[in-house]
């Protein structure tokens, strides 16, 4: 026999109202949890992918598209740039490091990126088995590509033209797997890396005009902070190149997504508040049914404060249970969402991580539950026992 036991007995005595309140609270909290987890992971992932890349130089067009295609590998590139112009830019004194990227083909939906060894080194990638590419038509698979394709070191595969699945297959120019990267938690896991020359080779044999040699983009790290003020303008002044800042473009992207996130978050809050209102009404109704019980408890020796804490405890217990269920539900939904997105091989999210903000969410649920219980608790505190016992 404890205060908690009595509260729970009352909650059990009204299973329908209790279940409704739990459901409302859980749905609201789950909505906010999904948003918390998904945006935090997306931001974290984009931050890791763009780390250390100060500027991207590529074909003229939309700077957002350039960043999405060359840094996050989730959009098609606008076009290619002449190799000569890229080399000239790489020699600029303001450039500390310049990594070339040649895009155009894919393997089962995963991009084949022609680059040099600086690119995996930039992400701190470790070769888990085999070695880095060196000769023509050698390739190293990212961790996710390797596990999805089940290709081992020494196996061969053919790239397909274009970046989606179902493009024309370059069957006469197979790649040979020389190594597999350990997982890095970055975009590298979903890429196939090879040399720029191998990408050229595939396309020359596929009968495309060689013309001047081209690459798709150049990832640039500044030599000095001053370069940020000068280099983008220089690049944009050339006839063929445009510069885009990953930091600026991803912030712009998040501002656009942010509106939708804010709307959903407000929706979650409305659900939580509606749940609070429902708990309030349920407790107030319960108080009406329970005025005799509360009077009897006073008769049996419980002080006014005891009755007040009984009502508050009930609100808090409902809120905490609903909040906890909501957080669990949110994690499950996020995991399901991540798996659904994983099918499309895009920035996948997982439900099996924690955000410190979830404790605040639990605190919010608790505050709502206590607020809802406050008036009923006050009424229980104020009730005059003798007349209630006499009626009946």
């Amino acid at each position: 026999m404890t205060l908690a036991g009595i509260s729970l007995a009352y909650l059990r005595a009204r299973p329908l109202a209790t279940a409704l309140n739990l459901l409302l609270l859980a749905l609201g909290v789950a909505t906010i949890t999904v948003l918390l987890l998904a945006t935090a992971q997306l931001e974290g992932r984009m931050g890791r992918d763009a780390r250390g890349i100060d500027l991207v130089a590529g074909a003229k067009g939309s700077p957002m598209q350039l960043v999405l295609s060359a840094v996050f590998h989730i959009d098609a590139p606008a076009g290619n740039i002449p190799l000569a112009d890229a080399l000239a830019l790489a020699r600029n004194r303001a450039v500390k490091k310049a990594i070339p990227l040649a895009l155009g083909d894919s393997f089962r939906g995963y991009r084949i990126v022609g680059t040099n060894h600086d690119y995996p080194a930039h992400y701190g990638a470790r070769v888990a088995s085999g070695r880095l590419w060196s000769g023509p038509m050698e390739a190293v698979l990212g961790a996710e590509v390797a596990s999805a394709s089940a290709l081992a070191v020494g196996a061969s595969f053919a790239g397909a033209h274009g970046l989606g699945e179902g493009g024309e297959v370059h069957a006469e120019e197979p790649f040979k797997v020389t190594g597999i990267f350990a997982s890095t938690g970055t975009v590298l896991d979903r890429l196939v890396l090879t040399s720029v020359e191998s990408v050229w080779e595939v396309h020359e044999h596929a009968g495309q005009p060689a013309g001047g040699k081209e690459i798709t983009a150049l990832l640039i790290q500044y030599a000095t902070p001053l370069a940020a003020a000068m280099l983008p303008r220089q690049v944009n002044a050339t006839a063929t190149l445009q510069a885009a800042s990953p930091a600026y473009e991803s912030a712009r992207l998040f501002r656009m997504i942010g509106v939708g996130v804010d709307v959903l978050r407000a929706f979650g809050l409305v659900l939580v508040l509606a749940a609070g209102l429902s708990v309030f009404i349920a407790l107030l109704n319960a108080l009406e049914d329970r005025r005799y019980d509360l009077a009897v408890m006073r008769m049996l020796g419980a002080g006014r404060g005891r009755l007040m804490s009984l009502m508050l405890f009930e609100g808090a217990a409902l809120a905490l249970a609903g909040g906890a269920a909501g957080i669990v539900l949110g994690h499950l939904l996020t995991e399901l969402l991540g798996r659904a997105l994983g099918q499309a091989r895009r920035a996948a999210v997982t439900g099996w991580t924690w955000q410190p903000a979830e404790f605040w969410l639990l605190g919010l649920a608790l505050a709502v539950g206590l607020a809802a219980a406050l008036l009923p608790a006050w009424r229980a505190y104020r009730a005059d026992v003798a007349p209630i016992l006499a009626e009946g």
Binding site: M1, A13, M299, L300, A302, G392
Partner: protein
């Protein structure tokens, strides 16, 4: 044991109870008789500290009730006064056993499961210990209410109209039950009723509103 002096109880301008002097010794069984509206329930509420008198002093076992207030008064009542209200008022969402255990818990005493079990046994309620109050007959519910009132071995046992709506046989049983249980814990028993059938069993009687 129980001493009331100069009691006046008013609601607004209306006086509902006037009692100049009343005293009961430990272990005595008293009947408070009076028509409805004569202030019987008010008197019980005053003795239990559920109401404060407009005038006068009440002492129970040496404790002057006016000296206690708030949670201390509630706690004193829980430990010293057993009450069987007319409407019984069992807690509907708790089992019979938990209704009994509620009494020591709310009075801040240690949980005495053995006492609860022996009371249920003695009052022939053993089979019903897990039942909810709405599953009980009126007689069973009344026995539970009495058991709850004597759980903490009170000095004072108060019963309000315990024989209302009972036939003669059940009327006798209800009064037997109260007198037996009061006797077992040596409590002073005060039964308030307008039921003339109870008169024969009590030699100590207080008539109100004559």
């Amino acid at each position: 044991m129980l001493r009331l002096s100069g009691i006046r109880q008013r609601y607004g301008a209306k006086q509902v109870l006037a009692l100049d002097r009343f005293a009961a010794a430990a272990g005595e069984h008293w009947l408070v008789l009076g028509a409805s509206g004569s202030g019987k329930t008010t008197l019980l509420n005053l003795i239990a500290g559920l109401l404060a008198p407009s005038e006068g002093e009440i002492a129970v076992g040496g404790q002057i009730l006016a000296m206690l207030e708030g949670a201390a008064l509630d706690r004193w009542r829980g430990r010293n006064v057993g009450i069987v209200p007319q409407k019984l008022h069992l807690v509907s969402s708790l089992s019979v056993l938990d209704n009994l255990l509620l009494a020591p818990y709310l009075a801040g005493l240690s949980s005495d499961k053995a006492r609860a079990a022996s009371l249920l046994e003695k009052l022939n309620l053993k089979e019903n210990s897990k039942a909810k109050p709405h599953q009980l007959s009126h007689g069973q519910a009344q026995r539970v209410a009495v058991a709850r009132a004597v759980m903490n071995r009170p000095k004072l046992l108060l019963a309000d109209e315990p024989t209302a709506n009972l036939d003669d046989a059940h009327c006798e049983q209800a009064l037997d039950l109260l007198q037996d249980q009061a006797g077992e814990c040596g409590a002073t028993l005060i039964v308030a009723t307008h039921d003339q059938r109870a008169k024969a069993r009590f030699d100590k009687r207080l008539e109100l509103g004559a």
